[in-house]
Symmetry: C2
Subunit: 139 residues, 2 copies
């Protein structure tokens, strides 16, 4: 029982560091992946996190991690791309936004930087999508 008490709490809280501002307004119209004709967008970083942008530069390749705030978290299996010809697949083997923790990974290029706003793309995330982290691509 002492052992059980030592188990760490099994919940963690994400505080968004920014938000996507995009012309893509709904999930229905969004491309499935950035490479499939997605537009550029703005990533507005919250003022409290803007110091974390220091030394990011136009031309950098980064991975933007989003939170799919419209996703369903109780979905464990899907047919990829909602295509009935695809087999039922566990969401960990797909990029479905519906998954237990609906995190999105978006490799993009930094086009420009204007204060705490990054012009990035191409990115299929819809307008209003929260951003929870930004990482450099390490090749």
């Amino acid at each position: 029982m002492a052992k059980k008490a030592a188990v760490r709490p099994h919940r963690y809280t994400l505080r968004p560091v920014g938000v996507i501002k995009s012309d893509l307004k709904s999930r229905r119209n969004a491309p499935r992946q950035g490479a499939e004709g997605a537009p550029d967008a703005w990533l507005e970083v919250r003022p409290w996190a803007s110091a974390a942008l220091h030394l990011l530069s136009p031309g950098d390749e980064i991975i933007v991690i989003t939170w799919f705030h419209h996703a369903r978290r109780d979905v464990m299996q899907v047919r990829p791309r909602s295509d009935p010809r695809n087999p039922i697949t566990g969401v960990f083997a797909t990029r479905s936004p519906d998954r237990p923790n609906p995190l999105g990974l978006h490799p993009v290029v930094v086009r420009a930087i204007d204060g705490n706003r990054l012009r990035i793309g191409p990115i299929e995330a819809i307008d209003g999508t929260p951003v929870v982290d930004i990482k450099p691509v390490i090749s």
Copy 2:
């Protein structure tokens, strides 16, 4: 004011879907990146999420997303790799585990699958690190 009331809540809750079981026991001894001599490890998926593994196979390249549960969340700038010769850099331009939302991205290969346990590697995450998502690499 009606507009302000419509703003969505700015917190999201992560529920770990699994945990890393590794011979790496402390952050001090962990390599900085998987490519720098990290070992293989087990990823134990929680029973409630195991259906999401369906159709994952040995040989698959996946990205494991972890939560650095020992990280500091109030750090916005670091000297990369703790090297005093490196310039002060915003954490969004580094892979520092210390960052507002301490998510880790680990590209690994699935070596073997045993029920809800995946043998994966190489991975620099230490023993006990929570896993919050698993995604296929899309090339």
